[in-house]
Each structure stands twice: as C-alpha cells, then as structure tokens.
C-alpha cells in the first residue's frame, strides 16, 4: 500500500473519529447559553473534563500530522478535497455513535458531497 493511501486513510478515519468524539463531548456538555467570554470559557472547561474530548484530540492529532505529511507530497487543492471522503463516514458515525436522525434528505446531501469529491479526484488525475 502506498504511503499516500495510508496517509489518506489516517486523515479520513482518525480525523472523522476525532471529530465524532468532540461532537459526543459537546452533546454531553450541552449547548452554549450565550456568547459572552465567561460562558465560552465555562463551556471549554466543561468539555476538557470529558474523556471523549481527549480521545478526540488524540485521533485528530493523528489525522492532523498525517495531513501535514500529505500536504508536503501533494497540492493542497487536491489533498483537502480528498479528506471530504470522511463525509459518508461522518454521517454514519452521526447516526450510529451520536444517535442523530440522518434523514433521507441529509443522506442525499452527503451523497452529493461525495460525488463532488469523486469529480475533484478524477479532475486531479
């Protein structure tokens, strides 16, 4: 398996997994009541006390450093759209892991996004 494919897998799987963990944290913390600095700091502190947040950081760090390495190998306008492959995984994770209601319309939107990513990929090669 080429280095680029391994890096892409890490970017997509670890990156999306990390984001799902952060989303899980924010579900647990609850909505920000307002945008005043004190309220925002309380929100961040509560989030940092949640274990999912730290697992999210770890996974996102793996995804981030994979992205850094990938950016040194390929053009940014190719690398970043490829990471949109995580949309299908993200919608699935939202439904299964976060118990979100992913309606047909939302799936249709995700499908369009994935199709667009496919075209971006074909356009690169």
């Amino acid at each position: 398996m080429s280095k680029e494919i391994i890096l892409l897998l890490l970017i997509v799987v670890a990156g999306t997994g990390g984001e799902l963990c952060v989303a899980r944290t924010m579900q647990a913390v609850g909505p920000a009541s307002d945008l005043r600095p004190a309220a925002l700091i309380r929100l961040i502190v509560r989030a940092l006390q949640n274990g999912w947040m730290w697992l999210g950081f770890l996974l996102m760090a793996v995804g981030f450093f994979s992205l850094l390495e990938m950016l040194s190998l390929e053009n940014v306008s190719f690398v970043v759209p490829v990471t949109a492959l995580s949309y299908g995984l993200g919608a699935l994770g939202g439904k299964v892991f976060l118990r979100e209601q992913v309606t047909r319309r939302r799936w249709a939107g995700v499908l369009l996004v994935c199709l667009g990513v496919g075209l971006v990929l074909i356009g690169q090669r």
């Binding site: 984001e19 799902l20 952060v22 989303a23 579900q27 647990a28 913390v29 609850g30 909505p31 920000a32 009541s33 307002d34 925002l40 929100l43 961040i44 989030a47 992205l67 850094l68 390495e69 950016l71 040194s72 190998l73 053009n75 940014v76 306008s77 970043v80 759209p81 949109a84 995580s86 949309y87 993200g90 919608a91 994770g93 939202g94 439904k95 976060l98 118990r99 979100e100 209601q101 992913v102 309606t103 319309r105 939302r106 249709a108 939107g109 995700v110 499908l111 369009l112 996004v113 994935c114 199709l115 667009g116 990513v117 496919g118 075209l119 971006v120 990929l121 074909i122 356009g123 690169q124």
Partner: protein, 139 residues
C-alpha cells in the same frame, strides 16, 4: 421547537467562520510545508530537524493559529447543531480551498474539479435544508 441552540441565525455565522478559517489554515500550512519539504527519514535527528524547521515557519504558525480558532468555533457550533449537519455544511470550505489554492499558491484547478466543488456546494445546500439539531443533550 427552535431554541437559541438550534437557531440558524446563530449557527450560520459560525459556519461562515469555519468556512473561512479552516481553508485559510490549511492553505497556510500547505505553503509552509511546501517550503519545508517532506520528512526525509524517521530517524530522531531528522525528525528533530524537521520539527525545528516547522517551528521556524511563520506560515505554519499562522496556519496553526487559524486552525485553533477554527476548532473553538467548531466546538461552539457542535454544541448547537448535529455533527451530521455541521460536517457537510462546512464543505463549502472546499470551494474556498480551490479558490485559495488557485489564486494564492498558483495551483491548477481543472474545470472538472470546479464542477466537483460546485456539486459539493449543492450537497451542502441540501443538508442545510434539514433541521440543525435532532438530538437532546446527554448532559
């Protein structure tokens, strides 16, 4: 029921912020990494040299700053809306990346890739017409 938390008027400005900060951070990192080049080997000395180069790059620092601000906005919007809503909605960023890559870095963006970006944006519009929040807080 539409609450403060799920109000689009609160969510959309943050999504715009995400769309600007994320791509800008990535483009700045891309520029920084292009200047530095790939890691030559995984030996500690080479890795150390690579990290030293990273920490000395203004583009890397600016990129990281943008991504930290992006993450703060991301946490906030996730406290108000579903992940499966926010993630696709932030895909407008891909159009921004293509634009920045083309105009700032001089990268070639083919018509097919522009078409892909437009379809991504269409998908985002479709997702944008679903309710932002479908779950209750677990707290």
């Amino acid at each position: 029921m539409k609450t403060f938390a799920s109000s689009p008027s609160k969510i959309y400005p943050l999504l715009v912020l995400l769309v600007i900060l994320g791509p800008l951070g990535n483009v700045l990192l891309g520029k920084g990494m292009k200047d530095i080049g790939a890691v030559s080997s995984w030996r500690p000395a080479d890795l150390w040299h690579f990290l030293a180069q990273l920490s000395g790059s203004g583009f890397i620092w600016l990129g990281v700053g943008c991504l930290i601000a992006f993450f703060g906005a991301y946490m906030l919007v996730l406290s108000w809306a579903d992940y499966s809503y926010v993630q696709p909605a932030s895909a407008v960023a891909y159009g921004m990346v293509a634009l920045l890559g083309h105009f700032l870095l001089g990268e070639v963006v083919t018509p097919l890739r522009w078409t892909g970006v437009l379809i991504i944006c269409l998908g985002v519009l479709v997702v944008g017409h679903t309710p932002p929040r479908t779950t209750e807080s677990r707290g």
